[in-house]
Amino acid sequence: MGGGFAFGFHLPAVNAQNVAPEINAWVVIRPDDTVIIRYARSEMGQGSMTSAAQLVAEELECDWNKVRVEYADTNAQVRRKRVWGDMAAVGSRTIRQSQDYLRKAGATAREMLIAAAAKEWDVPAAECTASSNVITHGLSSRKTSFGKVAASAAKLEPPKEVTLKDPKEWKIAGKPVKRIEIPDIVTGRIRYGIDAQLPGMVYAAIAQCPVFGGKVKSVDAAKVQGRRGVIKVLPMQDFVAVVADNWWRAKEALKELPIGWDFGGNDSVSSESIMKFLRAGLDDQSDVMVAKRIGELEQGMTGAAKVLEAEYFTPYLAHVTLEPQTCTAVIKDGRVDVWTSTQNAEATHAAAVATAGVPLENVYVHRMQLGGGFGRRAAQDYTRQGVQIAKAMEGTPVKMLWTREEDMQHDNYRPASLVRLKAGLDAAGNPVAWYSRVSAPSIIATLLKLPLKEGIDPQAVASFADQPYSIPNVRIEYAQRNPNVPVGFWRTVGHSQNPFVRECFVDELAHAAGKDPYEYRRGILPASTKESGVLEATAKAAGWGTSVPAGVHRGIAVTEAYGSYAAAVAELSVNDKNAVDIKRLVLGIDSGHVVNPDNVIAQMQGSAVFMLTAMFWGEITIKDGRVEQSNFHDHRMMRLREMPKVEVVLAPSGGFWGGIGEPGQAAIAPAICNALFAATGRRIRSLPLKNHGFDIA
């Protein structure tokens, strides 16, 4: 179905624009009419490589079958003053934050191609049109192709202003175009970071200090020297690498290598000590910031007919990309080449620059497909390690690869979070006062090491500070508490946990008010909100209010996330052994515009598996300062036989650009837990569900 993906291990041309006529930074057209669309962010299965190309192609009026996509190069990005803008594929923002300049790039290139043809024919450009790689002069019926005029178009001044199409006129965007890289996936041709292969390459396995923040104290290298294939033992500050002629030999030698660690006093941290620390954050009078204040909370509570209180907990979670962290690097003659799976190629570039100590212009990051991202590959710890090892092995390419155990035990985890809630209801059962205090680590302060604006990490209080319900008195507080466990951006971030808390508590309010949870939400959601629209569409598709077979129960939830609006209805039954049989999961999404509907459906289906895995079994626990889980035998992943029926409701209301990769997860956990309450009368206020005795049937 057209499209194609150019990947390879060739060193990128420094001036790619000399290879074929570059109309602008995003569009290159070869004389044979091939259209190369550059892609600046990353592809990890979220489908944005295809969607981004669809937007450029739509405005360009090119033939989709002639489109090839290649990654924008970070070295050229440095030399060309960041011509491709942000390269990070994080926060579900690839499309919503680049759609404007991508569409303009396509439209600008189209106008330049038309102008070049018009000039050749000596007619006004306004009399010419472009469609499917062909430019036509209507009056004379003359035709030419993009490939024929590309060289002269590239020399023209780009138009200052272009008019973008109304999405109603889209022919390529908005359609379920097939994903560009899938043919290379099913044949095994595609190359991930782990697949980098270079002449003379050696392999490194590493062990990091099992206790967070610890250091290497001693290494008895003699114990493994002389083992078959072992080339070198490299003790670094906080990890040890064994370099060998293949990775298995490196890993086996590492197992036999005696390493002494200095734990720096952090080996007494445990899940219990962390919980105690977070709980103190709920009660502390100091070091607490107010994230949102509406009306007078105390006054609202005093006047309430009924007051409800609850505490909710969500655990640390690991990303567990199926491809463990890996980085291949070679440093030679002051030049650094890096091959890796990254969600942020510019951050990878910067990490290589800082670690190798070379100028920006001397680093080349070779983009590879990611074997999953989910936020893990935004952090560049593995790039720094790979470049450090390459530096110690100067001149020799080294591929560093983590074991699954290293990956699970040295992640930057979704923060654990403890939330206290209090709500006051009036005589009719409607909320008149709402209080939340979140006691949780800050990703922004600890991972990014950025100052917090007014002491608030927006992710920690997401979906509380911006809750959509009409409640006259609200106070949201944040107690930043950072235990000695590294935290990071885990798919859907704050919206992976706070909507569970908020929407389950709203369910508690509905129950206290004696009202249907869907009708209750409708009553307190202003009709103008997007939440209201997607809630209604999803409830309707799920048949909310219609009868269900005996023993089957429903739960519902709605939230904003990443500029989109998501709702979920779960239908399930629970047997006497607490096995949960999820009959249906109906997931609604309003993302404003839809660039590739089939990809939106795929992301929603995937989100269901990702969240069900997390909510039933997912937790990272700490003992003696280290992570207790290590591999898939003690950290369960959902399997095919456990996946329930998922129905996706696309409810795009137009007029805005919402994210796709993350919002799908946000409403699932509360919908399931609210259905569990309906089925069992048990109110679930902490995850995972396995700790309450539940399992998937």
């Binding site: 994903r179 043919p183 099913v186 044949t187 697949d195 199926l322 990702f610 095919l640």
Partner: protein, 154 residues
């Protein structure tokens, strides 16, 4: 020296007999289709066929493949034609990141050889590979589609 056939090509490797087939394929023979996911035969990203049977090559010593036929995802298409399961994977847009999909496809091919018209229960039992992106619904649809195409033969 250990002799084996990889994707119809005779290969000879000088490695420890206990070295897992996965690492012989990836690091010695430069066959990158089989992926490393766990190293303990839990996830199935490393799945290859040995004499037509799916095995988890991360936990399969190369000595056990001596004298046998090893097929990886790269060796599935024949004469430039995609295997019907590969085609069904494209038609149904199964992969997301794709890292597990070589293993998923080879597991599905082995299932269809034994059961050309598998039931949902057959699929549940045979398809035990982990997909972190969550493509399970489409894997099921694609297996049924490949079966219906009538093109899957031993």
């Amino acid at each position: 020296m250990i002799n084996l056939t990889v994707n119809a090509r005779a290969r000879e490797v000088d490695v420890e007999p206990e070295m897992p087939l996965l690492w012989v394929l990836r690091d010695v023979l430069d066959v990158k289709g089989p992926k490393f996911g766990c190293g303990i035969a839990q996830c199935g990203a490393c799945t290859v066929h040995v004499n037509g049977e799916p095995v988890r090559s991360c936990s399969f010593p190369v000595s056990a493949a001596a004298g046998k036929r090893v097929t990886t995802i790269e060796g599935l298409a024949q004469g430039g034609r995609l295997h019907p399961v590969q085609q069904a994977w494209i038609d149904n847009q199964v992969p997301q990141c794709g890292y597990c999909q070589g293993g998923q496809i080879l597991t599905a091919v082995a299932l269809l050889r034994k059961k050309p018209n598998p039931t949902d229960k057959d699929i549940d039992e045979a398809m035990n590979n982990i997909c972190r992106c969550g493509t399970y619904a489409r894997i099921r649809t694609a297996i049924h589609a490949a079966a219906k195409s009538g093109k899957v033969t031993a």
